[in-house]
């Protein structure tokens, strides 16, 4: 049976052939889960290169990831998820990648769903596709992890505010499970919000007229380590993000990185 499974050819989307593509994996103290994340990404697409951005971990995350053949960028100290992920986007842009996916190093994003995420980007319908836990697909067996109750309330408030600002329904503005084309990589390499960036990034995409779509995905509970958001910080973060959203409306756009041709 095991042999049978192994002889089944891997079904990598033919549109991916020859496209330079990379998985960006931010990780902070994720030595317990990072290997599984890397293996799962390879299981989805063995030719997807992987860059782990180690955000100043105090454990063996970087060493373990390097031993498993990932590119590892080690930040000298903790920058927070925004700074870490942007490092990944800069790497992807500088190294000429046409396509990037982003998954968290804690294992909550399931690499087997990357195909679903890549679909609208490969079809040229979107510059960035974001995996949403809350999009209804009408299936009864659809029961992925949807975060704890208080956190979900926070996400709902943010989703409502962002939807209002961009004039379009956004259900999961804090999701970091994403697929991006080179336009989106170039934008985020040039300008990316600080701290917890995803919510503000939705507004940023809107202001730069990049096309974002949400795709329903299942997420898991984090595999190990601790969430970067505690209770007090969550309240502070809500206030900060709401402020950033409203001020962000009136900000001048930064010029995205572009290929010189």
């Amino acid at each position: 049976m095991a042999e049978l499974v192994e002889t089944v050819p891997r079904t990598v989307d033919p549109r991916l052939a020859g496209v330079k593509r990379i998985a960006i994996v931010p990780a902070f103290n994720e030595q317990e889960t990072i290997v599984r994340v890397i293996d799962e990404i390879r299981g989805f697409d063995p030719e997807l290169e992987i860059v782990v951005v180690d955000d100043g971990s105090r454990d063996r995350t970087a060493v373990v990831a390097e031993q498993h053949g990932a590119h590892v960028v080690r930040l000298p100290f903790n920058l927070g998820i925004g700074g870490a992920v942007q490092t990944g986007f800069r790497y992807a842009f500088d190294e000429g990648f046409r396509l990037a996916v982003r998954l968290d190093g804690d294992g909550q994003h399931d690499a087997s769903q990357l195909g679903r995420l890549l679909e609208p980007v490969l079809a040229g319908e979107a510059d960035i596709a974001v995996g949403s836990r809350f999009l209804d697909v009408g299936a009864t067996d659809w029961s992925g992890y949807r975060s704890s109750r208080p956190r979900r309330l926070g996400i709902t408030i943010l989703a409502y505010t962002v939807s209002l600002l961009v004039g379009r329904r956004v259900t999961d503005p804090t999701s970091g499970f994403q697929a991006l084309n080179r336009h989106a990589i170039g934008l985020f390499a040039a300008d990316y919000p600080h701290d917890i960036p995803e919510v503000e990034a939705v507004l940023l995409l809107h202001k730069h007229r990049l096309r974002m779509v949400e795709v329903p995905v299942l997420m898991r509970e984090r595999g190990g380590g601790r969430s970067s958001i505690g209770a007090v910080f969550a309240v502070y973060y809500m206030v900060k993000v709401l402020l950033a959203l409203f001020v962000g409306l009136f900000r001048k756009n930064v010029t995205p990185l572009e290929d010189t041709k």
């Binding site: 000298p76 100290f77 600080h194 701290d195 900060k240 402020l243 950033a244 001020v247 900000r251």
Partner: protein, 116 residues
């Protein structure tokens, strides 16, 4: 009771503070993280200067019977202390990170020189 002119001047000053802080964030010269305390300062001072009977009541609580606007000064001073304390912790963190950066850079340069 607080003289009306004092209330008006204090309210205008608070609004100016709020506008300046918001403009600094907008033009990316001030990060939201460091603006929050300033905004809180502006909002609290604005409320205290506009809500005149409230300021009187609070002055009564803390035993300021002669001149209620003194409470405005006290609150403003308190917030400035908070901002300064916050900045001290920020500067400490920055110096630590600066040390790390200098060390990493020096080590990298040393490696580069030896490879040449």
């Amino acid at each position: 009771m607080t003289p009306l002119v004092v209330s008006i001047v204090a309210a205008v000053a608070s609004v100016v503070l709020l506008v300046v802080v918001l403009e600094l964030i907008r033009s990316r010269r001030l990060r939201e993280r460091y603006a929050l305390l300033w905004l809180a300062t502006g909002v609290v001072l604005l409320v205290l200067s506009a809500w005149r009977s409230g300021l009187n009541t609070i002055a009564g609580w803390v035993g300021v019977t002669g001149y209620p606007p003194a409470v405005l000064f006290a609150v403003a001073t308190l917030f400035i202390l908070l901002v300064l304390l916050d900045y001290s912790t920020v500067i400490s963190k920055l110096s630590d990170q600066n040390t790390v950066l200098a060390q990493r850079l020096a080590l990298l340069e040393q490696q580069l020189r030896e490879r040449r």
